[in-house]
């Protein structure tokens, strides 16, 4: 242990010792160049160990939720009442009634903006932007933030994947990508709906009626026969496959894996608290996975047409694609399929249960539950979307895409609670605060919180240096 170790987290110390061993510098002392190298690794440690991203895809109307505009002209005003919260200076609409009770845990960033041309109108590009933290269309396809994090920091729970997408069946989930990283870092998507009592995660069960016992017997037989090629002989790949086999066996048979995905192990009180519907159970499952040690969880909880409410099957007629893309009839009390409508059909009005109703309940339950369990200490929770919606209501009674201003909400991992950052004008159209943050800044925040050194590039297979969130800076108010 020398002076430098004092600057390093245990993990970094480990890395440094490996480095020393590998290079033999431990014996020989340090040259200036190596010290510089190390010095650059020495950074203020991150405070997040895990990240939970709630990606509400489609472009949530900020005006109807986190950034109410009671003084907007009547014809464009949100019909939902503005209400105060326990936090000074933070008002939300009544659609967030339950969430207002947890605002002391939240930082609401109202000055998010997305100035990148060519992204504005596009959900796939916007979604990829949010997932990867960089505007798509560059020379290199960027990996999801979660894939980067999983590849750099691995998992605290080897029996679980490092990056899980829950359930990942919105129409935009396909833009999730490991980019130039190896396919091993692909987000593990569960699919389905956790609210379905019959729901299980495919590929996590053993195939074809091989029971756990027989599988264990097989593994024993394999172990006794697997002597022809000793790991010592084949070097790295042989050892690596061996340990991956162990990890895979663990995933297949470890009761903890199943438990992490097993919602029935939660008390009915907890399950009800989140809401016995699709969104609520997705949020709950996300909390379970975080608790089980998954490094990065992305929730992409688009409500299915045939879903559950209060534990009973329900069909949201007309809801073929219930994301937040409310071009038409945003204030409908049921579906938004109107005559002469455009791209806004297939949703339900923003004030309905499958939309803000379930979100408000699930989000408030998630935050208070995570707080109760102490998970907020080291988990960064981010409520994000691609963009906001226009301050003006269009002729189809909808709101269209709006990139100049929208809202993200953060909690946990040292994010100050009870804080509002930034402001928009009285219609919610433009940012009036001196601060304005982009999705790149959001990505930089996530990396910085996790203690990932963005000054050190990743490299593509042809060795092009790639900096993480290169165009972003961490949002200072979140630190």
């Amino acid at each position: 242990m020398d002076i430098l170790d004092r600057f390093l987290s245990p993990r970094q110390q480990d890395g440094r010792r490996r480095f020393l061993r590998r290079t033999g510098f431990g014996v020989l002392g340090w040259s200036a160049a190596e010290l510089v190298l190390l010095e650059q690794q020495v950074r203020a440690a991150g405070v997040a160990r895990r990240v939970l991203v709630l990606f509400e895809q489609g472009g949530v109307s900020h005006i109807d939720t986190w950034d109410p505009k009671p003084d907007a002209p009547t014809e464009h005003r949100s019909p939902f009442k503005t209400m105060s919260t326990p936090v000074d200076g933070l008002q939300v609409t009544e659609l967030l009634k339950q969430s207002s009770a947890v605002t002391r845990h939240l930082t609401v960033v109202r000055c998010m903006t997305q100035p990148t041309p060519g992204i504005g109108n596009s959900h796939p590009k916007g979604s990829q932007y949010v997932l990867s933290g960089e505007a798509p269309g560059g020379p290199i396809e960027m990996p999801d933030i979660g894939s980067v994090v999983a590849s750099l920091q691995g998992s605290d729970a080897p029996h679980l994947p490092g990056h899980v997408m829950l359930p990942g069946n919105s129409e935009q989930a396909g833009v999730s990508t490991p980019g130039f990283l190896s396919a091993a870092n692909t987000a593990f998507r569960t699919g389905g709906s956790p609210a379905d009592p019959k729901w299980t995660v495919p590929n996590l069960g053993l195939v074809g009626g091989i029971g756990a016992e027989r599988f264990t017997e097989r593994r024993k037989l394999l172990a006794s026969l697997d002597t022809g090629l000793l790991p010592a002989r084949g070097g790295k790949p042989v050892k690596a496959l061996g340990s991956l086999m162990d990890q895979a066996s663990d995933m297949l048979t470890n009761p903890l894996t199943r438990k992490a995905f097993d919602l029935s192990s939660e008390s009915s009180k907890v399950r009800e608290r989140y809401g016995l519907g699709h969104r609520g159970q997705c949020y709950l499952l996300a909390r379970k996975l975080i608790e089980s040690g998954v490094r990065f969880v992305t929730v992409d909880p688009r409500e299915p047409l045939n879903s559950y409410r209060d534990g009973k099957p329900v069909r949201f007629d007309g809801g073929g694609n219930m994301n937040w893309d409310h071009h038409d009839a945003i204030y409908s009390t049921s579906h938004t399929n109107i005559k002469g409508g455009g791209a806004g059909g297939g949703r339900w009005g923003i004030g309905t249960w499958p939309m803000m109703g379930s979100l408000d309940q699930a989000f408030s339950a998630l935050i208070s539950d995570m707080s109760d369990r102490g998970l907020l200490k080291d988990t960064l929770v981010c409520l994000v979307t691609e963009f906001g919606r226009t301050p003006k209501v269009n002729e189809r009674q909808g709101r269209d895409h709006w990139t100049p201003a929208f809202t993200f909400v953060f909690a946990g991992a040292g994010v100050p609670g009870g804080q509002v950052v930034g402001s928009t004008d009285k219609e919610g159209g433009y940012i009036t605060s001196s601060a304005a943050y982009t999705i790149d800044d959001y990505a930089a925040t996530v990396y910085e919180k996790l203690g990932i050194d963005r000054s050190k590039p990743l490299h593509t297979p042809v060795n092009r240096p790639i900096y993480l969130a290169a165009h972003g800076r961490p949002i200072p108010e979140l630190f």
Binding site: F7, V42, P117, Y430, S434
Partner: protein, 488 residues
């Protein structure tokens, strides 16, 4: 935060006396100094120059930041604060600059601090590490006060670029940006008439107050200092510093009534100050890159700022609320597509017409209100980009970027970094003429309406003067004091 510091400082101040006594006894330090070390004057500049590059606003290697007083007292990555008041031995900062171990010594891989510098810091810590500034959380760069500038060199070894030009309303004398000075010339003869010295190193912007009595000078030192100051034209004295900061200012403009001044520059921020009181009325940092050019609309309602970030931002002049963003320089599709930084912005002398240009093939002509309306209504942004909207486009035909514009009621002048200057008719947007010109970058363009002259300043320091009516070149000369001395 600050109460904690204050209390700690108070407690340690007592310790300081003891410590001073102790060192006096041991003879390790000189006798008690009559004047304590001034932090902002003596210590802060040292920290800024030698430490803050790695431990400052941009980087906090090792978990230390030394650019603001509060951060000095924070525990860094090593678990101890950089400075422990009264206790030099317990101060990581001192330990690191004094050690002989090359692996630990700071500044890393650089010349060490001199003995006297180290002693200064030691003494300051010993004296209780007192802060003599205002806000302990603010970077002290901002608290150092406006700089006193050195005198300009008697003669210039080489020309400096003529980044800014302005014509005195009454005399017609030409003010040109110099090095630590403004030089004043007879535009006809090219004779140097006056030198107004002790000004910022680079002068990026010159503007006369509407009454012609005051010259607004903005500039600074790239990368470290920016300033906007008022100079009394008759005496040539800097009468007031309106703004100063840590990056060079690139543009400054008077409101039409002369009561307010807007400034902007490489800190991406626009600020508006009241001239009479020097009070900051508002500031807004919405550009993602340098503010290159700004101005007030003729009715005084709006301030607009052009940015390297491909946008022009329009603010309400009264409170700085962002009114609209003009995105015409950043179009993905359509006839007028292209993504270009904006370097020049002018409002028409009457009304609210705005002209902006930079990269790309056009000078764009637009209106703040209509810009806002268009931005507010359309849902489909891509389609909106494809539509031309209300903006009009003057195809300038330059091969290079436009850095300077000048506007009169019916005419627009534009100059390019290819060393081209052209005149356009604002009614039909057609080119009227191209002026004969030396081919290097033109940074500034001034229209002297009363005398019907157009004046351009270029990279080589060359000043070129044309007659607006005939297009003839009236004169050209190098705005380089030394050259004229030598010529005579």
């Amino acid at each position: 935060m600050s109460p904690v510091v204050t209390r700690a400082a108070a407690v340690l101040a007592i310790g300081t006396v003891l410590a001073l006594g102790a060192s006096a006894r041991s003879g390790a330090a000189p006798a008690v100094q009559p004047t304590p070390v001034g932090f902002l004057k003596e210590v802060a500049p040292l920290l800024l120059k030698r430490c803050a590059g790695c431990h400052g606003e941009r980087a906090n290697l090792g978990g230390y930041r030394l650019h603001a007083f509060q951060d000095l007292m924070r525990k860094g990555g090593g678990g101890r604060p950089a400075v422990t008041p009264g206790k030099p031995e317990a101060s990581e900062l001192l330990r690191r600059i004094e050690t002989r171990d090359p692996a630990l010594r700071m500044p890393k891989q650089d010349e060490p601090l001199s003995v006297s510098q180290t002693a200064l810091i030691r003494r300051w810590i010993l004296e209780g590490a007192r802060f003599d500034g205002g806000d302990p959380t603010a970077p002290y760069r901002a608290q150092l006060g406006p700089r006193e500038h050195p005198a300009a060199p008697l003669s210039y070894r080489a020309a400096v670029p003529a980044l800014a030009t302005a014509v005195a309303p009454d005399s017609g004398d030409l003010a040109v940006s110099g090095y630590h000075e403004v030089t004043v010339w007879d535009a006809q003869s090219g004779l140097l008439k006056r030198r107004i010295g002790r000004l910022p190193q680079r002068i990026q912007s010159l503007a006369f107050s509407p009454d012609g009595r005051t010259l607004l000078v903005a500039g600074g030192t790239p990368g470290e200092y920016g300033e906007a100051a008022l100079v009394d034209w008759s005496s040539g004295r800097r009468t007031r510093v309106l703004e100063f900061g840590s990056e060079i200012l690139l543009s400054a403009a008077y409101s039409p009534d002369g009561r307010r001044v807007a400034t902007g520059g490489a800190d991406n921020t626009v600020r508006v100050t009241e001239v009479e009181t020097g009070k900051r009325l508002w500031q807004n940092r919405v550009h993602a890159d340098w503010v290159t050019s700004l101005g007030f609309s003729a009715d005084g309602e709006f301030v607009a700022s052009a940015g390297k970030d491909l946008t022009v931002k329009i603010y309400r002049a009264t409170d700085g609320a962002l009114f609209a963003t003009y995105l015409g320089h950043n179009r993905q599709i359509g006839q007028f597509k292209g993504q270009h930084p904006v370097y020049a912005l002018r409002f028409s002398p009457e009304g609210r017409q705005a002209y902006s240009a930079g990269g790309g093939r056009w000078v764009q002509v637009w209106n703040p209100i209509k810009t806002r309306d268009e931005a507010g209504d359309a849902g489909d942004m891509e389609e909106r980009f494809a539509k031309q909207g209300h903006a009009r486009y003057i195809e300038h035909g330059f091969k290079k970027d436009v850095y300077a514009l000048a506007v009169s009621r019916a005419t627009l002048f534009a100059a390019s970094s290819g060393g081209e200057v052209k005149q356009f008719n604002l009614t039909d947007l057609k080119e009227v003429r191209s002026f004969p010109c030396e081919p290097d970058w033109i940074y500034s363009l001034t229209l002297d309406e009363p005398r019907r002259r157009l004046i351009a300043g270029s990279y080589t320091g060359l000043i070129q003067v044309w007659d607006v009516e005939s297009g003839k070149r009236l004169s050209e000369f190098s705005a380089r004091p030394g050259a004229n001395l030598a010529a005579r």
